[in-house]
């Protein structure tokens, strides 16, 4: 015989409450980093008297701008469900190439690093997209191979940059009392945001990151999109390296170690999902700034050795990713 069960009004009320808590988690995920940044700034302002000065803050942002450039490229890569572990080594390569190029011609010092590191990024992209190799293994191999290349080119010595005022202006100059690298970083984030949110390419990146197979069948140019993402990531890392060399007036083969980790942490803290398909440029910018402020705090405290800092980096990454996973699960994504 046919029997009927009673409907549940309780369930309707329950689902409304569930909707509210899901919205809360979504809010946390999207803007949690900003909230933490504001909190940290507030705490620091109280704890350290010299913190909230224009000079100090401007300095923090300037120091962060190199990681910021890298984070722009990393955001594209991670949203497409990839990862680029080679950016730290490419940063070093960029700096070394800039130091060499500036001796030949000042203008080259920015162009050569971008082209060379972009070419390596292109190679990464080809292996990942066309040869269908896992991004982490390809970029891990690049991380090690490029570092080897840098050491082979420069030995272990720093290459000094002297007598190149135009080039060093890009790293140390000021416009309206604000360092030039900051402007470059802001520009990169702005253009990156525009491309990610307002172009077909950006839509393709999101699609590939959420469901690559479906995107392929829907006619999205998957290979080309990925290749461009890794090329841009490499090129930006090269640019960052060149600008850093300009700031330091030296190309150092040892810079960039573990920068890929920081870039990933910044992007993830900013709300971009490590599993792909969702992310924002603004979030990555907040993440970079947060990392920069934390680094500044550590310097202010002054007593932490670099070893302890490494431990803190590792722990920080774990905590951030764990929170993200928890929030994602709560949202049933």
């Amino acid at each position: 015989m046919v029997a009927n069960s009673a409907g549940t009004a309780a369930e309707a009320a329950g689902s409304e409450k569930a909707g509210r808590s899901e919205r809360l988690f979504a809010l946390l995920q999207r803007h949690g980093a900003l909230a933490v940044l504001v909190l940290v700034l507030a705490v620091s302002a109280f704890a350290f008297e010299r913190f909230l000065t224009f000079r100090n803050l401007e300095n923090v942002v300037a120091q962060s701008s190199f990681l910021g450039l890298i984070a722009v490229g990393m955001t594209f890569v991670i949203v497409s469900k990839g990862i680029d572990l080679s950016v730290g080594s490419l940063l070093a390569l960029g700096g070394v190439l800039a130091a060499f190029s500036v001796q030949v011609a000042g203008a080259l010092a920015l162009i050569v690093p971008v082209l060379a590191c972009g070419a390596i990024g292109l190679l990464n992209g080809l292996l990942i997209a066309k040869a269908k190799m896992a991004p982490f293994i390809v970029t891990l191999a690049a991380l090690l191979g490029v570092r080897g290349l840098v050491l082979a080119i420069a030995g272990e010595r720093t290459i000094a940059i002297s007598d190149a005022p135009l080039f060093t202006w890009f790293g140390r100059g000021e416009i309206l009392r604000i360092d030039v690298p900051i402007f470059i970083m802001i520009l990169a984030f702005a253009v990156g945001a525009l491309i990610l949110n307002r172009t077909s390419y950006g839509q393709a990146i999101f699609a590939i990151g959420s469901s690559e197979d479906a995107a392929q069948l829907m006619g999205v140019p998957v290979d080309r999109t990925k290749i461009i993402a890794y090329t841009v990531s490499g090129a930006l890392a090269g640019l960052a390296g060149a600008l850093l060399a300009a700031r330091l007036s030296a190309g150092q083969p040892v810079v960039g170690a573990a920068w890929e980790l920081d870039a990933i942490a910044a992007v993830v803290v900013g709300g971009t999902l490590l599993t792909g398909g969702y992310g924002t440029m603004s979030g990555s910018l907040v993440g970079v700034l947060l990392l920069g402020v934390l680094q500044n705090l550590i310097n202010q405290i002054g007593t932490l050795s670099s070893y302890t800092q490494q431990m803190a980096s590792g722990a920080f990454l774990i905590i951030v990713v764990t929170i993200q996973i928890y929030l994602t699960r709560k949202r049933n994504l």
């Binding site: 015989m1 046919v2 029997a3 009927n4 069960s5 409907g7 549940t8 369930e11 329950g14 689902s15 569930a18 525009l194 949110n197 307002r198 172009t199 077909s200 950006g202 839509q203 393709a204 999101f206 699609a207 959420s210 469901s211 197979d213 479906a214 995107a215 392929q216 069948l217 829907m218 006619g219 999205v220 140019p221 398909g277 969702y278 994504l333």
Partner: protein
């Protein structure tokens, strides 16, 4: 009827894979405004032919002609751009993106400055959906809609791409009856617009309703092509199987006749509840009984099955086997208590690729086949041999990689995996989906045998006919709770559909996703 030149033509197409001749000089043609059925068992070559046409594969021999000109598409992108759209059985859209973003992916409308125009995109997406009678919030993420609506969005996208040929591969497997009607309305509209439709399906009733022509493939070869009206259903099946008509008639049904059912329930399920998914599901299963679990997509059938097996977390609820409580949320506990579960998607949840047939069969029996952590090869091989024979699993040897077997044989390997545990209750989620007509009859026969042997069976199937024929009792789910139960003579397709449809507004399955 139609004297025009074919819009799509495949001429003597041959395609080889290592060790397999997938297509052997197959020819096929589609006229504009024609709805053409493409049928055959699994392994007959249907999907290979479609993949050659759409550019996933390149043919080894033969040619494909589109619009009278020879073409060789390098990828699905090219064929789509040329005017061939495909709708797949699985919903191949992006769940995380909105409806409008999915409809326009790859060809988003732009503003004057070349940037994306979201407003126009949303507006036009709503228009397209409205034209086909589909109601949905175009800014909502796709995954928030019911599967049926999602499939209709896929249809809308395919159709809006100004295709001249639309290929539909098992398009109705996720649709309710009402949505199937909508789909057929869309197809008729396409026909009026002189678009050619290739319709691939195992659902013979649907074919007879909507298609004019039929092409039958078997073992990679073309065995018949002509008007569908000239063949009876049985004749069509006979052609697909390559068997004599009389033999097919003899084997048809017999599923679910004459069962003896025990009195005391072997499985008792009480109050299974999980927020947004299940709401107080309770029922019993007796030894020798086949309980059909029916419901629309999103009703919670697979979730109920998984909950009983411990693979779905529960907020509350009890499962009892032969009077004893079974720990929920733990597959090993369920297995120990005698419950076995065959999942719906054998590719993502069943078959372990890279391992052999042998290793796949014993996968769930490991604790019984090993002492002190070592696998007993003798016991293992004995078990494997016995069940390969009993179920008629066709493989070159037990060590053959399981990925090389046909769909039907893989399903049998899955069954063997569970039967070799000698379970008391067997839960089957879509046991005959995606396998050919011959293997399907074998599996149904097997279910009969098992029930006769005293096994309690829970069977989930989207084919109403299969549920009605094979079940002694039917539990109908709607939105995660039991909407009704049918038993004995009350089990019929009409009663079933009535129970399914009753009081139904939220068919979009918003709270009880599947």
């Amino acid at each position: 009827m139609n004297e025009q030149a074919p819009i799509l033509k495949a001429r003597e197409v041959t395609k080889r894979f290592p060790g397999v001749l997938a297509l052997d000089r197959v020819s096929f043609q589609l006229l504009p405004g024609e709805v053409h059925a493409l049928v055959g068992e699994n392994g007959a070559g249907k999907s290979t032919l479609i993949k050659v046409i759409t550019g996933v594969y390149a043919p080894d021999e033969g040619r494909v002609l589109f619009g009278g000109e020879e073409v060789s598409f390098a990828s699905p992108r090219d064929s789509q751009a040329a005017g061939i759209s495909t709708i797949y059985q699985e919903i191949n859209l992006i769940p995380m993106r909105s409806v409008a973003q999915n409809v326009f992916l790859g060809r988003e409308p732009r503003t004057r400055f070349g940037l994306l125009d979201s407003e126009r995109m949303n507006r036009e997406a709503a228009e397209i959906l409205g034209r086909y009678g589909i109601q949905a919030d175009v800014t909502a993420p796709l995954h928030s809609l019911g599967l049926g609506t999602q499939q209709m969005v896929a249809v809308a996208r395919a159709v809006s791409l100004d295709a001249r040929v639309v290929i539909m591969d098992e398009p109705t497997s996720s649709l309710e009856a009402r949505e199937v009607d909508t789909l057929f309305r869309v197809i008729r509209q396409l026909r009026d617009e002189n678009v050619g439709v290739v319709y691939v399906s195992h659902q013979l009733d649907e074919l007879y309703e909507i298609c004019e022509k039929v092409t039958v493939l078997r073992d990679g070869k073309l065995v018949h092509s002509g008007d569908l009206a000239e063949l009876s259903k049985l004749q069509l099946i006979a052609t697909m199987l390559g068997r004599e008509l009389a033999e097919v008639e003899r084997r048809a049904t017999g599923f679910g006749e004459n069962r003896e059912v025990g009195r005391e329930p072997v499985l008792r399920v009480r109050g299974l509840t999980r927020r947004h998914v299940l709401d107080g599901v309770s029922f019993d299963v007796r030894p020798g009984e086949v309980v059909g679990l029916a419901g629309l997509l999103g009703a919670g059938r697979s979730e109920t099955a998984k909950a009983i097996f411990g693979a779905q977390p529960l907020d509350s609820g009890e499962v009892q086997m032969a009077g004893k409580d079974v720990k929920t949320g733990s597959p090993p506990s369920a297995i120990k208590a005698g419950i076995a579960f065959l999942p719906e998607d054998r590719r993502s949840e069943g078959i372990i690729p890279g391992l052999s047939v042998r290793e796949n069969i014993v996968a769930a029996a490991m604790p019984r086949l090993s002492r002190v952590g070592l696998v007993s090869e003798k016991a293992q091989n004995e078990l494997v041999e016995r069940f390969m024979e009993r179920l008629g699993i066709k493989a070159s040897s037990p060590d053959q990689p399981v990925g090389e077997l046909s769909g039907g044989n893989q399903q049998k390997v899955m069954l063997a995996r569970w039967l070799c545990l000698d379970p008391k209750v067997l839960i089957l989620d879509e046991p005959t989906r995606g396998i050919d007509v011959g293997a399907k009859a074998e599996v149904q026969h097997l279910i009969d045998e098992l029930a006769e042997g005293g096994l309690g069976v829970i069977m989930i199937s989207s084919e109403l006919e299969e549920v009605v024929e094979g079940s002694d009792r039917v539990v109908v789910l709607r939105n995660g709770s039991v909407a009704g139960t049918l038993s004995g003579d009350d089990i019929s397709e009409e009663n079933l559909m009535e129970t399914l449809a009753e009081g139904g507004s939220s068919e979009n399955g918003e709270s009880a996703g599947e």
